[in-house]
Symmetry: C2
Subunit: 351 residues, 2 copies
């Protein structure tokens, strides 16, 4: 069924003045009634709300913003929202943001720092009340000075939250999953199960998160008396299924292999699982595998993957709360880092 329009033209939006005029009162009174601030006689109130209803009137947020000096809009930059990790944090963030009256502009930087800069400055033009940045330059180990500086300058002007390991170098407030705890939980668990020879795969030293996990696992291995090694594969997109698959194939060709393969994330872990099964070996009986991030594919496999859950709901909430604190205080603190404690989820890819 096709619904025909009254007219084919977009109607001009009606304003507070149109309503005032129709009733024969001032716009100020209408504004007071709608905002709920200030006195309005019951009689006028009902007449006003009748018309609001009739025209389905909504005050123009931009005009309000112009007066109020804030926009109730937040900018959120990720490399690629198709990455489930980013999507899950965003989802939780947005839930809080919109329930608090904020709209979130979601931007994809494709991991391109120049594009990131453009997006950042367009957010500044939009006068968003705050900015969240996850991944992209935040995660890069080596970074031209100007990219760091850009954020240092921006965060003086706009409340800014960076989500990534070691964001202290940007001098801004950070919220991130506590990788040290996550790796710790993982290794503690593996030790309990009697595993000793453990190998991390699928990361790269160019990226802070995987570099940091590596450092943590080395440090912990001494304490726990484990034999931890790290094997990053180059030439592939690290963090990918293929990276895990190919890394595993190489490892399987060697004379002896570790008891546990720890994928830097669940995609990598899944790649490893498939390579192991293809080789005619069993998970976890012959080789155990763990993932990280607890993304949906961790359970969509023949052997469900033990993983570390960042607790997305809490994480997203923390990001929003931290940002809102900056916004409300109208202050830029810029130093505190909030770490979100993850939880280990044991499944049957380990004994």
């Amino acid at each position: 069924m096709i619904i025909s329009d009254d007219s084919n033209l977009v109607k001009r939006n009606i304003t507070i003045y149109d309503i005032a005029k129709e009733i024969g009162i001032s716009a100020a009174t209408v504004s007071r009634a709608i905002s709920g601030r200030g006195y309005v006689s019951e009689k006028n109130k009902t007449r006003i709300f009748e018309l609001v209803e009739k025209y389905n009137f909504r005050p123009n947020t931009f005009a309000q913003n112009l007066k109020a000096g804030f926009t109730k809009t937040i900018g959120y930059i990720v490399p690629h929202i198709g990455n489930e990790y980013f999507a899950k944090v965003y989802y939780e963030f947005e839930k809080w943001a919109s329930s608090h009256g904020y709209m979130t502009i979601l931007l994809n930087s494709k991991g391109d720092y120049e594009l990131e800069s453009k997006l950042l400055s367009s957010l500044k033009e939009k006068h968003v009340d705050g900015i969240v940045m996850m991944g992209g330059r935040i995660d890069a180990m080596e970074l031209p000075e100007r990219y760091i500086k850009e954020i240092q300058e921006l965060k003086q002007i706009i409340p800014f939250i960076a989500c990534g390991a070691k964001v202290e170098r940007f001098g801004c407030t950070g919220v991130y999953s506590d990788d040290e705890k996550g790796v710790g939980q993982l290794l503690d668990f593996l030790k309990t199960k009697g595993y000793k020879r453990i190998c991390f795969i699928g990361g790269g030293d160019e990226y802070y998160p995987s570099y940091y996990k590596k450092i943590c696992s080395y440090r912990l291995s001494e304490k726990l008396n484990l034999d931890v090694s790290v094997r990053w594969l180059t030439g592939y997109e690290v963090f990918s299924y293929e990276s895990g698959y190919e890394s595993m194939k190489i490892i399987l060709k060697e004379e002896s292999y570790p008891e546990v393969i720890c994928g830097i994330n669940d995609y990598v872990a899944l790649g490893a699982v498939n390579a192991i099964m293809e080789a005619g070996l069993r998970v976890p009986e012959d080789i155990a595998v763990t993932g990280y991030d607890n993304v949906s594919i961790a359970t969509m496999t023949p052997v469900q993957i033990t993983s570390v859950n960042p607790r997305y709901e809490y994480y997203g909430k923390k990001v929003f709360n931290s940002l809102q604190k900056l916004i409300l205080k109208k202050e830029v603190h810029g130093e505190s880092v909030v770490l979100v404690k993850p939880e280990l989820i044991v499944r049957n890819s380990t004994l």
Copy 2:
């Protein structure tokens, strides 16, 4: 290293007036220089741009909007951005939108129609230039009249694009993947390979997209002389991995089973693959499997899944183009439906 702030307070944003005052000219001239419209002497131009540079000045978009009457902002509602299908279309859409100067507000409705209504009205308040809606009520077979009406009213006021099968009932412009063609390509291919007994799993008649695929496959089966059946499982979240897995288990218990299982999407297909392999059967030798949507997990499995690719890049672009057309024309057409032709991707889950 911690970078200390000059001041701990957010600086007041400087305006066109501050710049004008510092040089000793009028704000009008500054505006003209920055917008590039109207004449400005070279001398003033350079002085103005020096200060723009110095203060990193960006005009307040909201003030511009208020004058211009548009916001260069688009609202985009999906049930859950963690769903890779939605994320992929959004990603492509956003690419085009932001390269054309539009910011996109991404909202998750969680499939809750009441929340959807709230989000819709908040977008209206924001005076977004256009709205895109994918999934949610758009996909529902049975829908209380008021939910349909709401969209019919909204699209008179704001350019509106609905993405879903059979959106004609909302009387608005639609952009959607051509499921008839997709199912057609799939069945044609299966026939070519000599398959005859085919079963669709993992959908539900409550959802237009799967209902429509069902209708199409029945219609085509007659033409192609195939034996097509449809087995929706209830009690599970349809469209999920579990739904595919459980459906397959039930089918495998029966005395004879089909030659091909067509999952309504790739998650369902993957569930079926795993159930088949668990039963000690081989894919595709014993049973072939196909998916739909060509999501990343289709290739992250031991047996890569033949799937139908909606061609996300083209799809997202089409959505943006259609919306932009509505915005620029300042007209509401509200009837045309653009179908995006998908492509079959053959992998080794079929012969």
